[in-house]
Symmetry: C2
Subunit: 482 residues, 2 copies
């Protein structure tokens, strides 16, 4: 192995973003292709990110009063059929189980594409009275959607996610929950993944099958395309009517419950790669990085006797302080090779330690995000490393935010809109008449879709639809998206 | 609601153990039946136990050098067919996906009953050299086995588990790993679940399809039947040959790797119910209890003003100290009803607080395991509660161990064996000739199977097979089992 091998295995980001993405994911061992079309294996280095995401998000889900549960992976076909709108949305994507052992099943079972139907059925048994409400349940699970075009983490036949499913006494409570979760997702993604998002409502065309309204957070990847990072749905009483989820209200009257559902998935790992990565490889924010600090001993002279024991002590001290740290003490690789390797793997901070550093009671710290080098005194190094990790986390967010702002443009007419999308990508803030015809025309002609309609519209909003020139009813964010 | 309702919903344990088990699981809201045959929903109160099990076991899995990953839920039929012995073991239990959307698949996909086949395939791509070994990967996942007779947690069509899959350079290393995991499981189950186990090797008849040797931990439920709690398999080079997992060894020669696999599942929750539960309901060991301490305010007089604020402060203080605690402040239920309700739900420690206790700066603590009552001074209560929880954890283990010892008997001839199994159940330690004919005969005539062959056989072991009377080759533990 040498540095050349490393370079030749990854297409430069500037040359071909798509190939860079896939090369990097495989070379860094985040994931690998499974032998079944459209499926992937999440390898330990990638799964460690998912574990960090789970831990940090699950804490927020629980802090807001939700509890976890587990519902079956199979859903009878008749349950999906009860809800035709929902089924139509998912039918082309459902994997069907038809046999159990040698026996053909009387009724086909869907491998869950999402769990509204089975959870709705169970809620109809569990909910009797207003005293049983709200029900605030979340599930961490695998789901399957038979996709034609797939890409690791972004769109795969099977993926991992969490799906929240809540039931409430009133529409207002359900709407409040829907928006509370939207804000929870926004705060989580910006704080932990260091990815700034825009958020708002989806158009009817883009909303979830069966929802009254869908809200989403959307981020801009570094190639200028948008990525939906999470959705929160106000389901109204739609599923409650279909699955007969009724409760006796405070006036002893039977009412249908009001529901929400919401989810984020392993797609977030793809977003991390595409938001922060560069030509040297991955760049992970410290909060979710599988390894936060890599120690590379400079292997010259009698390093095994002089340097290695000090490096080991340093590793133990930082580990003790709660740091996710690794010491690369392999003798068969050069320090230079290790520098490139761990840069490629996106470790936020590298600590180099050689014989001279040992003498000077210091290490050389190198930031992954801007490659800045500084010497750190060994005394009190735990605090300094913690500070540097916090600085890197903030810098990554600031950089991504600056990129997002630079790449959010206005367009006042259709020619400008088309030119901007074609030449610059990014988000376009523009006025829209609210008609699906314009939305469809824009998508067909520019491949851009309405990502979200912002929640807080400027009060003095007035003007003309960017597409048809008729009076506009709303402001919208457009982009080409994954 | 009243206490009568509570009592009438659960069949007494002494009357019908099986119905008691199922009634209790549903009434305590650990799980509910799903509308699909053989499937269940794990409700929040039950899932919280699984989360505790995951957290405590995952810590041990990682501390022993393993990392987590995620492999696809679908396995192509040809992969299972490559390994006929393995397929024969699982074929009758496999759920088959035949359609993706409207299209029939060219090849059927199995919903994973276990993941040796797909993981073996991936390992053949990942492992090249002895430097890549050992590979120590674990997966937390759902699996599906089409079962004819099911029972919540013990045997369901879908269940949750962890499955470890490791690859090693030598047979010795694989064997060492197999036994290390067996001991890890034993220590985990005894320490955290407070369930004593016996452990050892399975007979060829009872071993995992495709394994060289299967080792298991087995516990005795309180009805005298045994339950397999976890298994660890030495797979030899069996799957390596089938899936061509080769590495260049230290002498530059190509060799097949040596593998292990091992798992425990949500079945453990069933074991908790059947090991510790009594006629009043569930009894959970504090280490895995969803709620460790329940505070019940005595709702008399102006309790909302006098007692409730003190109860709230107590709750906050204990929560701060790391205790999983709940304050039942519902006004619509009596203290007596709440006592029974939380006893039924297995909360290890109850703290009662009334106006007089407030005056005396104390609470009344009631242990779930032996119903012992003592007054605790409010000063330093965090430490006292922690001590009591540790005492309860230990007492539950000691009680279960005493039960196991009382119900482990010897049998020197077949008449004695049959009489003991029929009248007393429990484990029987007996000599065996090692022939499958005797093993089969015993099973047919007594419904008892060999649970394990202990690892450390007494050196001076000599005698005759309990079944045929011929010379014995080994000591074995027999029992009727779930």
């Amino acid at each position: 192995m040498n540095e050349e091998r490393l370079v030749t295995q990854i297409t430069p980001k500037s040359e071909d973003f798509s190939r860079w993405y896939v090369d990097l994911i495989r070379r860094a061992e985040l994931a690998d292709y499974a032998p079944m079309k459209g499926m992937m294996v999440i390898r330990p280095y990638g799964y460690a990110i998912w574990e960090n995401i789970q831990r940090l998000l699950d804490r927020r889900i629980k802090a807001s009063g939700h509890v976890n549960a587990y519902f079956p992976v199979f859903i009878p076909e008749s349950f999906l059929r009860k809800e035709m709108e929902h089924l139509k949305g998912f039918a082309p994507e459902v994997a069907w189980v038809t046999h159990g052992g040698d026996d053909e099943l009387e009724e086909r079972l869907a491998v869950r594409p999402t769990s509204e139907a089975i959870i709705g059925h169970m809620y109809s048994k569990w909910i009797q009275s207003w005293r049983d409400l709200p029900v605030l349940i979340n599930q961490w699970a695998n789901v399957v959607r038979w996709e034609k075009v797939t890409r690791p983490f972004l769109r795969t036949t099977e993926f991992l996610w969490q799906e929240g499913h809540t039931a409430h006494e009133t529409y207002e409570e359900a709407q409040e929950e829907t928006l509370r979760i939207l804000q929870m997702y926004r705060e989580f993604v910006e704080t932990e993944l260091a990815i700034p998002v825009i958020y708002g409502r989806k158009t009817d065309r883009e909303k979830f099958a069966g929802a009254e309204a869908t809200y989403a957070i959307e981020a801009l990847m570094s190639d200028g395309k948008a990525l939906q990072m999470g959705t929160s749905h106000n389901l109204g009483q739609h599923f409650a009517r279909v699955f007969d989820i009724k409760f006796e209200d405070r006036n002893q009257k039977l009412q249908y419950v009001w529901q929400t559902s919401w989810g984020v998935s392993t797609r977030m790992i793809g977003a991390l790669v595409m938001s922060h990565g560069d030509d040297s490889g991955l760049v992970f924010p410290p909060q979710v990085a599988p390894i936060q600090v890599i120690i590379v001993p400079i292997s010259i002279g009698n390093w095994k006797e002089s340097v290695l024991p000090v490096a080991r002590k340093l590793k133990d001290a930082l580990q003790q302080a709660g740091c996710r740290i690794h010491l690369d003490d392999r003798a068969e690789y050069t320090p230079g090779w290790k520098f490139s390797e761990w840069e490629m793997r996106g470790v936020p901070l590298r600590l180099e330690i050689g014989p001279r550093d040992v003498k000077n009671n210091q290490v050389i710290a190198v930031r992954r995000d801007n490659k800045e080098k500084i010497a750190l005194d060994m005394n009190g190094i735990e605090g300094r490393v913690e500070e540097m990790l916090a600085t890197i986390q903030k810098s990554l967010f600031d950089r991504a935010l600056a990129f997002q702002k630079e790449n959010t443009r206005e367009a006042s007419n259709y020619e400008e809109f088309k030119k901007t999308i074609e030449e610059k990508r990014g988000f376009i803030r523009a006025l829209w008449c609210g008609r699906e015809a314009c939305e469809a025309k824009i998508k067909e002609e520019t491949m851009a879709t309405i990502r979200v309609i912002p929640l807080d519209q400027e009060k003095d909003l007035a003007g003309r639809c960017v597409c048809c020139g008729q009076e506009a009813s709303t402001l919208a964010y457009f982009a080409r998206a994954y």
